[in-house]
């Protein structure tokens, strides 16, 4: 189940629409890292609103994505974590340490605009 990754100016937006298998998550990681290089994006937003469960593999891979994307000069923002999911995650010790998290897509884009202002016209 491929996650659509859309280009929004200098940023990429990946909207997860249903539960993902471990293989899907790995595929998403590879697709994002590849596209960041291809489009020379400054930021990536991953929207997890549709997920009502986040296990350790998912959180670990999201952290990997953030690290790999940073190595390519871009910032990752995770948005849309549901209240129940957030509650469960912290109780299991999955805190997404070091990864920026915002409430929703609007907040995520706002954050990226401020954090990574354009240095030239794209």
């Amino acid at each position: 189940m491929q996650v659509p990754i859309l280009k929004q100016g200098a940023f990429l937006v990946a909207v997860i629409q249903s539960a993902l298998t471990d293989a899907d998550i790995v595929q998403l990681r590879d697709a994002i890292v590849s596209k960041v290089g291809h489009f020379r994006s400054r930021g990536v937003i991953i929207d997890v609103t549709a997920l009502d469960v986040m296990d350790s593999f998912a959180t670990g891979t999201l952290q990997d994505i953030a690290h790999m994307v940073r190595l390519r000069g871009a910032e990752t923002v995770i948005v849309g974590i549901q209240p129940d999911v957030a509650f469960a995650m912290v109780h299991m010790g999955l805190t997404l340490e070091g990864v920026t998290t915002k409430l929703d897509l609007e907040e995520g884009l706002d954050h990226l605009e401020r954090a990574r202002p354009a240095t030239s016209d794209r």
Binding site: V79, I81, P83, A86, F87, M89, V90, H91, T95, L96, T101, K102, L103, D104, E107
Partner: protein, 294 residues
């Protein structure tokens, strides 16, 4: 079959118990007015049901008496249970206490028993009481249990209401929430708090939350950890948390248990916390010239 015939038997057979009960019921029904008066007199003498007026006591006494006799007659308790539930719902808000309800049922039992003592000669009295006692006990129990259950239900509802009241999540500015915590936090309340806060963050699109614990007297390691978890889960929803109002004792506890204070932004008091939050949100409060107090 009359009671004189029954006297001839050494031990009552089951049908005769039924016959005895029918006899009793007809006695109690035909002497209804006088026995009910006697009961009400004893209720007043024992100073029970003082929260109710004379008319109310008379009305309820009549209903209870009739239900009692009906239960004896039909030997089923459903309608009595339903009546006990209904009665409890009506009188508990009036402030009628458990001991009063149990008291009046036992008084009725007593009034009726004495009436049976005076009517039936000692020879047959044992058999009569054998028929009456189990039924009367079942009735007293049904009414008492019905009353207590209703009270427990009300207490549970009130506790739930108090819980909700105690943890309001308040929006004081665009994107800024305040969560004032007062009283004792147990793990259940801590969990409720967190859930309410997260829902509030999402509903109000809050970027900042000030959690004020001035009203929390003491905090143990478990609760301190819950607080840290609350701060972390708020972060996952994109909100920063400032904790204010830590007493010296609580500050000491947090240090002693080694809470990672890097994860928690703290400010001394609520005012300081709100000012810091406003600053972070880009607000500046400017007095409006002479009219503003210093």
């Amino acid at each position: 079959m009359t009671l004189t015939d029954l006297r001839k038997e050494s031990k009552p057979a089951p049908e005769s118990t039924a016959a005895l009960l029918r006899e009793l019921v007809s006695h109690l029904a035909s002497n209804r007015t006088q026995l009910r008066e006697e009961w009400i007199r004893r209720i007043t003498e024992a100073r029970l049901l003082q929260a109710m007026t004379k008319e109310e006591i008379f009305a309820e006494a009549t209903s209870v008496y009739d239900s009692y006799v009906e239960a004896l007659e039909t030997r089923t308790l459903e309608s009595l249970q339903a009546y006990a539930q209904n009665l409890s719902e009506r009188i508990i808000p009036r402030g009628v206490d458990t001991h009063e309800v149990v008291g009046i049922v036992l008084l009725l039992r007593d009034v009726l028993a004495r009436s049976l003592f005076s009517k039936y000669p000692s020879g047959i009295l044992n058999d009569v009481m054998d028929a009456y006692e189990p039924a009367a006990n079942a009735i007293a129990l049904t009414v008492a249990v019905g009353f207590v259950r209703e009270r427990e239900r009300i207490i549970r509802e009130q506790q739930e209401a108090i819980r909700e009241l105690s943890t309001p999540v308040l929006q004081v500015r665009e994107r800024l929430l305040i969560l004032p915590i007062i009283g004792v936090i147990d793990p259940l309340r801590a969990r409720q708090l967190t859930e309410q806060l997260l829902r509030g963050i999402r509903a109000n699109r809050a970027k900042l939350v000030v959690i004020d614990i001035t009203g929390v007297a003491a905090m143990d390691a478990t609760v301190a950890n819950h607080l840290v978890l609350t701060v972390e889960s708020a972060r996952l929803l994109g909100a920063r948390v400032i904790v204010t109002g830590l007493s010296p004792e609580i500050a000491q506890t947090l240090v002693n248990i080694g809470v990672d204070l890097g994860k928690m932004n703290t400010v001394g008091d609520l005012q300081g916390g709100i000012e810091e939050a406003e600053r972070l949100l880009g607000f500046k409060v400017i007095p409006m010239g002479e009219s503003a107090p210093a």
